[in-house]
């Protein structure tokens, strides 16, 4: 066992915390935050597992994948935020309706 596994497990925890918040929260900005935390968890796990090469140099392929992922995540976040603002402009709030109370 080495320190990289700490980070891999932390990645699993971040993903789970994010997924829970994504489902529980009804405010869209909070859902976007939760998605970003989930993404960070996946990236952390990928890079932590890339460190298991047994040498001092980690596997560069997952590193490249994570850099690609970070850029795609920021693009998706920007689009999601604009969609949220449009919804807010159209309906007056950025919170999803509560099905059980309506």
């Amino acid at each position: 066992m080495n320190a990289a596994f700490f980070y891999a497990i932390a990645g699993v925890v971040l993903f789970s915390l994010g997924l829970h918040a994504l489902i529980m929260h009804r405010h869209l900005l909070r859902k976007i935050l939760a998605l970003n935390v989930m993404g960070s968890g996946v990236f952390l796990m990928l890079a932590a597992l890339a460190k298991r090469t047994g040498t001092t140099i980690p596997d560069p392929v997952p590193h490249a994948m994570v850099i690609t992922g970070i850029v795609v995540a920021v693009a998706a976040t920007a689009l999601a935020l604009v969609l949220m603002l449009r919804l807010s402009a159209a309906t007056g709030h950025a919170v999803l309706p509560d099905e059980e109370h309506e």
Binding site: H25, L29, L33, F43, H63, I70, V74, L79
Partner: protein, 320 residues
């Protein structure tokens, strides 16, 4: 050496715990503004973790994009949301609390716990050593034209991914532009501190971007990190009230936006015709081709990210 390893382990444990604690605070904080600020702090701790994981390329990308630009985007959206609504409406967290949701939230909690346990078990039971693809990358690094393995993977071995990623960025911007203007225009004179700071920082940021672009061939850095630093300069300028001159807003801006993906795509077609495979660079030319793609990509990525932050297409502003 033994004490150094112990200190390293303690730092790793603290960073991992810090990440989990910060993520919890981000997601559970009742104050939305605090949650966003904590998310930026979370991104910076992530950047430190990347350094500990010996991934300096990702650390640079995370600090500039993950923490910096995403934070700016979130704060910008929060400000627009607050301008459009009362504070109380923004703050409504919308957490499904209450007895009516009791059974559902318990079921969800059990599901998440099972998922986390399963994922954790899978990660834990993976072999402690796995060489992955690093041997394959090391074997072909000489023919890639660069000596930084991450840049070699991004621009040469898996250039296809990077090409598609540039397209995703462009698509996201098209999506944002097609949704129209969501900005609540509130032009105000820039703060004198911000004004002075941006005057000093903007040339410096452009210099850092150029360095990162050049260094990417043999050291941590590359097109994405350089593009993100360039975008940071652009965002700073936007915050000080600077706007793109109208003469540059229409055609020239769009040309710069597509230059990166277009040059990348053109090279993909040329290599397909000359070498028989998409993005298969001849080793003698690979270094120069990668530099050309990276330079165009850096400028396009930087400008696209600034445009994503701005939201509305510049042409729309003229009409108002």
């Amino acid at each position: 050496m033994a004490t150094l390893t112990t200190v390293g382990l303690i730092i790793d444990a603290l960073l991992a715990l810090g990440l989990m604690g910060l993520a919890w605070r981000v997601l559970a904080n009742p104050d939305l503004f605090k949650a966003i600020v904590l998310f930026i702090a979370f991104g910076l701790v992530m950047a430190l973790s990347w350094v500990r994981l010996e991934a300096p390329d990702i650390a640079l990308a995370e600090a500039a994009i993950g923490a910096g630009l995403t934070g700016a985007l979130l704060l910008g959206a929060f400000a627009k949301l607050r301008n459009a609504q009362t504070v109380a409406a923004v703050e409504t967290s919308g957490t499904a609390h209450g007895t009516a949701h009791g059974i559902r939230s318990i079921a969800l909690l059990i599901f998440i716990l099972l998922l986390a346990t399963g994922l954790g078990y899978v990660v834990w039971s993976l072999p402690a050593e796995d060489i992955g693809l690093s041997d394959a990358v090391a074997a072909h690094l000489d023919t890639s034209g660069v000596s930084n393995p991450v840049t070699a993977v991004l621009l040469n071995f898996r250039g296809y991914d990077t090409l598609l990623e540039m397209m995703v960025l462009l698509l996201a911007l098209l999506g944002v532009w097609s949704l129209g203007d969501t900005a609540v225009h509130r032009e105000s004179a820039p703060d004198p501190v911000l004004d002075t700071l941006s005057r000093t920082l903007t040339p410096l940021l452009i210099l850092v971007a150029a360095y990162l672009l050049w260094a990417g061939a043999h050291a941590p850095g590359g097109a994405f990190q350089a593009g993100a630093v360039l975008a940071a300069a652009g965002v700073l300028l936007l915050l000080t009230g600077w706007r793109l001159p109208a003469a540059l807003a229409a055609q020239p801006l769009r040309l710069v936006l597509v230059a990166g993906p277009a040059i990348f795509l053109a090279l993909a077609v040329v290599t397909l015709l000359m070498e028989g495979r998409l993005l298969q660079f001849p080793p003698a030319w690979a270094g120069r081709l990668i530099l050309v793609i990276e330079t165009a990509a850096t400028i396009s990525i930087g400008v696209t990210l600034v445009a994503l932050f701005r939201g509305a297409p510049p042409a729309d502003e003229d009409r108002q």
